[in-house]
Symmetry: C3
């Protein structure tokens, strides 16, 4: 990305929102703006010197109430490559253990004149609550079973990169639809950009009214795979799953696990996606996860570009403000 | 702050001490110099680009033997906004668990040619011991029930900001005086700058000879509130308190908790201060903590400026040394 | 170090390896190149502004599967003084706890386009496995009882600094030879550079075939001390030791502990070295550890220079690439 390119992206930007809380709240135009900005930032991580001064002197805080090395590291690196100052706060070791409320923690951070707050929390809606009470920009890095917008944005970016477009693409999301913030954010994003979405999983893990979001439902893996341009697997979070929802990992694999054999029913240019970390041998076999159709590691690479774009847009930075 | 302003502050500086261990050791002139320098730094955090190169190439280490997210983050951000390199060491995960002595840990850090060491420890005097054996500048970030000098400095800064002066101001400190390093540092700082200090709390939590430090003692909340320009609450650290000192939190609240009703006895322009985190509904009710008299969040903002000033003065940095 | 000096070191560099996995794999010339480069970097940490832009825009990750504050901090500071971006990942809190394999963790980091990976792991060979599957440069920061190359490099650097050379120097390594990665890396490095190496310890802690590495074996401390230019103590890791190998710490001290009395048998200019942290009163008495022959803290200082050199050489950085 040359300075001119960034400048151009910035000048055409129509970003007006303070926060990124979910894809439900975004218009198709706003989603496209993020993807287009990410496109400009993607190239920075391929340079010998992977750093631009775009967010110099801005302060970003990773406030993680749930542990997550992957997402934390991706945001941390995105901030560093934009030259922002970033601080990590793990809620376990925070003042919260001294009985402080979440809002008090946030007000205290805000009093330090921070610019952006990246929040992960086990309860749906916490980032929204914080955003309402904070002048800082809030980025939802996953709230309960609700939304994980930057994950869906990187998925959209990857589909667009590999397929040339999102509109008209047929995407099947397979797994625990009911408890997945990744599924929910992807459903919002994919349908807004005109993709055709199928969700598939055991009946116990697919919410009853989900069709109302504009998706097709099937409980049969074959139906989900056949004709799909993209097969997006969700992680079976067996450490959280209630015993009654899935009888056993072995049974889940038998009915919904993707192996090379089953993949033969898919289109010859199907994309295999997964938000990671993969349970090898459960929802996905190693020969598929590491095979030619898998774009799982491209998703990780694109996640960095998407998060740089989100930090950049929310910061309201314009090149004019930057030092020469 | 323009470059000229910093330069001016630096040129008039008479700072000669290697360490900041407590306010007991400082003269009124030294305290005023820190407050004046903090005044120059305050404005940096209000800029779009919150960063100056003052401490570029200096190394600061946060060595915390007691966990503290707030103070650690405040020092970390202060260092980053001054462009210093900062490393966080939580003593729990340090070599100390391999049986190394504190002095060996410090000598090892010093061998890495660090410039400043910010230390928090549960035992009084540890920062002094370390300072004596180290070439690096040591900043006491709280040692046992002894001192917490940067907290008192930010309190002084806040009083001066809101009241225009510290001299002649009447300050009442309420709570567990006996075990509070915040109280002790404030008593030293406030009396040196000419404030009139009252301490108030249950007889079990007020040290017998405390009048010798030049403060008035009362056990009645009304007497402490009446006529005070500043009411400074201390945190009841119920997780540490011995059962015999305070019968119950409920009883503490009944006798010493501040609510809107009790605050009516105070001056119409009283300031409510608290070092945080607040036990809402114990020493302070929410409608007071969040009310018009509260300057609790200003204290947090000012803490950043004060810590920037302390790092700057102790580093011995002069603008002449800095790169163009 | 002037820019010209670095430039010169870089221009004569013949470094071609992607990784630093052990000293076994290095030629004497490669070891000398690292020591020579470290010589250039040593001076940076003595400046008022301890920072050069050599690795600006490079990303280094400390991936520690075993906790180690000292080594982590040394690498972190080395990276920061070279202006690299560095991220710390403690494996305890990483995705590994979600059942992800090590290689998946590494592939994910690599997808973030990181440049260098500093790895510590309790199992021998893990850094080699990772290096084989990664485009990023891997630095072994200690793998099981196998190697700890940067520790041996800093030991070589310290001997050369104090004695003017390594060739022909007589070095006795004392302690648990069998389980020490420090001993193993030092044996490779010292013998390659032409030092004469003696190993000494209880028969249970000296591997049977160790002479094949070109070292002399003795079980008597007196024989190891007499005539040695350098006495290198190893840490007795009593927290790991099986009860049967050493009867007791008291007995170990009686037979192999170094005190002032025993040191009288050594050369008048003997060097006392220890990788730290020292068990005072076990393998080394305090009056020796802190005495005139001890270079233990010089080792720490030199470790920083050596790690800066290793990061610099592995990054493939040349001054031509750097911004003006």
């Amino acid at each position: 990305m040359t300075t001119a390119t960034v400048s151009h992206a910035a000048q055409t930007a129509q970003w007006t929102k303070k926060d990124l809380l979910g894809l439900r709240e975004l218009s198709a135009e706003e989603i496209r703006l993020i993807l287009q900005t990410a496109e400009s930032f993607r190239e920075i991580s391929l340079r010998p010197i992977k750093k631009v001064p775009a967010l110099r002197g801005k302060t970003v805080v990773n406030l993680f109430f749930e542990p997550s090395t992957r997402t934390r590291v991706s945001f941390e690196l995105a901030a560093k490559r934009l030259s922002a100052d970033i601080m990590n706060i793990a809620a376990q070791s925070s003042s919260l253990s001294k009985g402080e409320t979440i809002l008090d923690t946030v007000r205290n951070l805000e009093a330090l004149k921070i610019d952006m707050l990246v929040i992960r929390h086990a309860a749906a809606g916490v980032p929204h609550l914080i955003a309402k009470h904070s002048h800082a920009s809030v980025i939802n890095a996953g709230d309960g079973s609700h939304e994980h917008p930057t994950q869906a944005l990187l998925d959209l970016f990857t589909i667009q990169e590999k397929k040339g477009r999102v509109e008209g693409i047929s995407v099947s999301i397979i797994g625990d639809i009911a408890h997945s913030r990744v599924a929910r954010s992807n459903i919002w994003g994919l349908t807004k950009l005109g993709a055709r979405v199928t969700v598939c999983g055991p009946a116990t893990l697919v919410p009853p009214q989900i069709e109302q979001l504009g998706v097709r439902v099937t409980y049969k893996l074959e139906e989900a795979i056949r004709g799909a341009d993209v097969v997006m697997l969700l992680r079976i979070q067996h450490e959280r799953q209630e015993a009654t929802l899935v009888p056993s990992l072995r049974e889940y694999r038998l009915r919904y696990g993707i192996d090379r054999e089953r993949l033969k029913q898919a289109k010859p240019d199907v994309l295999i996606m997964h938000p990671g970390p993969v349970n090898r041998g459960v929802e996905l076999d190693s020969d598929v996860a590491d095979g030619p159709f898998s774009v799982i590691l491209d998703q990780v690479t694109n996640g960095l570009a998407v998060r740089m774009a989100v930090l950049y847009l929310l910061s309201g930075s314009r090149l004019e403000e930057e030092p020469a």
